[in-house]
C-alpha cells in the first residue's frame, strides 16, 4: 500500500438549503482512502452516507451543496472542478453502483450495449471494439455464456445477474475508486454474499479501492479494512474493522455492535432480544446542540449538551468523536 491517499476528504460540510434557511446535513466529515484500500461508511438510514458519496462524485444538486471542505482525488482538489471535468472523472476513474439493480439498467437497451457505451464514452473506442470488450467485461463478472448474454435485455436477467452487469459497467474503465452504496440491500442473502465476494475479488485483482456504504456494520466490517461510523451527519468513530467489534469506543458504535447478533451468543440462538439503541435519529432540522447523540446516550453529561466533541486520536489507532469515549 502506497502512502499517498487516493481520495482525501477534509472537513467536508454539506448544506441543505430549503429556501428559507440553511442547515448542515453533514459536517466535519474527514477521511482518506489509499489506493486499493477497502473503506466502509456505516450508519443508520438518513445519517448522510449517500449525500457524502454524491459530494465525492460532484453530483450534489440543489437543495444540497458543498458548504465547506476539500475533496482531493489523486492529489488534486476536485470539489471546484468544472461540470465537464467532474463528468470525465465519473465512470472513468470514480465509479459507483447503487442498491437498486432492478432499475439501474436501461430497460430498452441490451446489457452489452450498456457496457460497451462506457468504452465509447470514456475510452474513445469504436463501437466494434467496445462490443468486443463488453463481452470480456461480462465474462469477468462470471456471467455464463457472455457472448450470448450481451444481447439480453435487463428484464431477461435475475436480480443477481443484473447487479453483476452493474459491476461490469462500473469496473469497465478500470476506475481507481468504486463507491458501492448499499450494493446488495435489495438482494437475497445468498446472492448478496456472492456479489460482495465478486466485487471484492475483482477490485483486489485490479487494485481498485472500494468505498462501501451500508447501514449494516457486520457486512461492512467483513469487507473493509477500515470502517467509519456516521451519526446524524458526523463521523463519530473510525477504526480498523477488527477493533471496532472488539472494543468499540464511541457509545453509538457500542450500541451498534451490541445490536448485532453474534455467532454462539444467546441472541443469535434466539433466547434473548438484541439490544437496541433507545430513541430515534434526530431530524436534520432539529439536530441537538453539542454531541448529536446526547439525547440517546447513557453516558451523556452537561458538556455533551453544549459543546461539540472534537475528534480524538485513539492510542490503539483510530479516531473517535466523544467527550467521554472509552
Amino acid at each position: 500500500m502506497t502512502g499517498a491517499p487516493l481520495i482525501e476528504v477534509e472537513d467536508l460540510r454539506i448544506d441543505l438549503d430549503d429556501g428559507s434557511r440553511r442547515v448542515a446535513a453533514a459536517e466535519g466529515v474527514s477521511f482518506r482512502i489509499s489506493r486499493g484500500e477497502t473503506f466502509g461508511l456505516v450508519g443508520e438510514s438518513g445519517c448522510g452516507k449517500s449525500i457524502t458519496a454524491l459530494a465525492l462524485i460532484g453530483l450534489l444538486r440543489p437543495p444540497l451543496s458543498i458548504g465547506a471542505g476539500v475533496i482531493r482525488f489523486d492529489g488534486k482538489e476536485i470539489q471546484h472542478l468544472s461540470a465537464a471535468r467532474q463528468r470525465d472523472l465519473r465512470g472513468d476513474r470514480i465509479a459507483m453502483i447503487f442498491q437498486e439493480p432492478m432499475t439501474a439498467l436501461n430497460p430498452v437497451s441490451p446489457v452489452g450495449r450498456q457496457i460497451a457505451e462506457m468504452f465509447v464514452l470514456h475510452k474513445g473506442k469504436s463501437w466494434r471494439e467496445a462490443n468486443r470488450l463488453a463481452v470480456e467485461a461480462l465474462a469477468s463478472v462470471r456471467v455464463p455464456a457472455p457472448e450470448r448474454r450481451v444481447n439480453d435485455y435487463p428484464h431477461q436477467l435475475s436480480g443477481g445477474m443484473r447487479q453483476r452487469v452493474m459491476i461490469a459497467i462500473a469496473l469497465a474503465c478500470g476506475p481507481d475508486l468504486l463507491i458501492a452504496d448499499e450494493p446488495t440491500t435489495a438482494l437475497d442473502v445468498t446472492v448478496q454474499a456472492e456479489i460482495i465476494e465478486l466485487m471484492r475479488n475483482l477490485c483486489a485483482e485490479r487494485g481498485t479501492a472500494i468505498l462501501m456504504i451500508s447501514h449494516d456494520l457486520g457486512l461492512v466490517a467483513n469487507v473493509c479494512r477500515r470502517v467509519a461510523v456516521m451519526y446524524a451527519g458526523r463521523i463519530v468513530e473510525e477504526r480498523g474493522s477488527a477493533d471496532i467489534f472488539r472494543k468499540p469506543s464511541h457509545p453509538y458504535t457500542q450500541g451498534l455492535v451490541d445490536s448485532l447478533p453474534r455467532l454462539g451468543s444467546r441472541a443469535a440462538l434466539g433466547r434473548s432480544r438484541l439490544k437496541e439503541i433507545a430513541g430515534v435519529v434526530p431530524a436534520i432540522t432539529s439536530f441537538p446542540d453539542g454531541c448529536r447523540f446526547n439525547p440517546r446516550c447513557v453516558h451523556a453529561t452537561d458538556i455533551c449538551r453544549t459543546i461539540v466533541p472534537e475528534t480524538d486520536l485513539l492510542e490503539a489507532g483510530g479516531l473517535v468523536r466523544c467527550h467521554h469515549h472509552a
Binding site: R90, G91, M96, F98, T103, N106, M118, I169
Partner: protein, 273 residues
C-alpha cells in the same frame, strides 16, 4: 387475447396507401397530367375509366393513384418535422426544467391556443402555395401534443434509477437524453405521430381545397376535391373517389394509432379491458 382489429385494419390501409404511392407509375393507367383528352371528358366510372374522367378527360383513377404521393409525403414529412420539434423541445424542457421549461411551456400553450390549421394558413399566406410551403406550414404547427407528451415522459423518466446511474457513470446531458430518455418514451410519441399524420393528410386536403396546396395541374386529393366542387351534382365521381382516398387513409392512420396505443401503453390497455 382479443384480435387487435384496429391495428390490423389500420396497418393494412396505411400500407395500401403507401404501396399505391410508391407503385403509382405501374398502377396508373395514364399519365395524371398529360393524358388529357377532351373526347373523353366527364365519362362516368366504367371498365375503361375505373373512377371516371374529369372535364379535361383525365383519368381520375390515375390521378387518385398519383395523388397518394402528395398526400402521404405531406402527411409523413410534416409529421416527422412536428415529431422532431416536439420531442426536442419537450424532452429538453422536461429534463432540464428551469427557465427553458418555462419558455417551452409558454410556446406550447400559444400553439395550443391557436388552431393549427389557422396557423398553417397564416404561414401559407406568407410563403405562397406549393408543396414545400405545405410541408413547412404543417410541419411547424402541430407539435404541441408531442411536446407535451415528451415533456411529461422526461419529467418522470429523469428520476428513474437508470437515468441517475447514467449520470453517475459520466454520461453527458445529451447522451442521457438520446440513450436513456428517448427510447423509453418512443411508444406514446409514435402513437401521437401516427394520429398526427392522419390530421396532416386532412389539413393538406383542406389547404389544397382552399387553393393553397399543390399547384395544379399536378394532382393531390385536396386539389382534386377543390376542382370537382362545381361538378358535384353533374359528375359526383370527381369528388367521391379522392374523398374516399382521404377517408380511408385517415381512417387507417387513426385505427393504426389506436392499435399502437393498445400495445404500447399498458395503462390504456388495462382501462379498456
Amino acid at each position: 387475447m382479443k384480435l387487435r382489429a384496429n391495428l390490423v385494419i389500420g396497418g393494412a390501409l396505411f400500407a395500401l396507401a403507401i404501396a399505391v404511392g410508391l407503385l403509382a407509375p405501374w398502377l396508373a393507367h395514364t399519365d395524371p397530367v398529360l393524358d388529357a383528352n377532351l373526347m373523353n371528358a366527364e365519362e362516368p366510372p366504367s371498365w375503361t375509366w375505373w373512377f371516371g374522367t374529369d372535364d379535361q378527360g383525365r383519368d381520375i383513377y390515375s390521378r387518385v393513384v398519383y395523388g397518394a404521393r402528395v398526400s402521404l409525403t405531406v402527411g409523413i414529412v410534416s409529421q416527422l418535422i412536428n415529431s422532431v420539434i416536439g420531442v426536442a423541445l419537450g424532452l429538453s424542457a422536461g429534463y432540464w426544467g428551469g427557465w427553458w421549461d418555462d419558455v417551452v411551456n409558454a410556446l406550447t400553450n400559444l400553439m395550443l391556443a391557436i388552431p393549427s390549421l389557422i396557423f398553417a394558413l397564416a404561414i401559407m399566406a406568407v410563403l405562397g402555395p406549393g408543396l414545400t410551403s405545405l410541408l413547412i406550414a404543417l410541419g411547424l404547427t402541430n407539435w404541441s401534443f408531442t411536446c407535451r407528451i415528451a415533456r411529461a415522459s422526461a419529467l418522470s423518466l429523469r428520476n428513474q434509477g437508470y437515468v441517475q446511474a447514467a449520470t453517475v457513470l459520466g454520461y453527458g446531458d445529451f447522451r442521457i437524453m438520446i440513450t436513456q430518455l428517448l427510447p423509453n418514451m418512443l411508444g406514446p410519441i409514435v402513437v401521437i405521430g401516427t394520429l398526427g399524420m392522419g390530421s396532416a393528410v386532412l389539413s393538406e386536403a383542406a389547404l389544397s381545397f382552399l387553393g393553397l396546396g399543390v399547384r395544379p395541374p399536378f394532382p393531390s386529393w385536396g386539389s382534386m376535391l377543390s376542382d370537382a366542387r362545381d361538378q358535384i351534382t353533374t359528375a359526383p365521381w370527381l369528388s367521391v373517389f379522392p374523398g374516399l382516398a382521404i377517408f380511408l387513409t385517415v381512417l387507417g392512420l387513426n385505427l393504426l394509432g389506436d392499435g399502437l396505443r393498445d400495445i404500447l401503453d399498458p395503462q390504456s390497455r388495462s382501462r379498456r379491458t
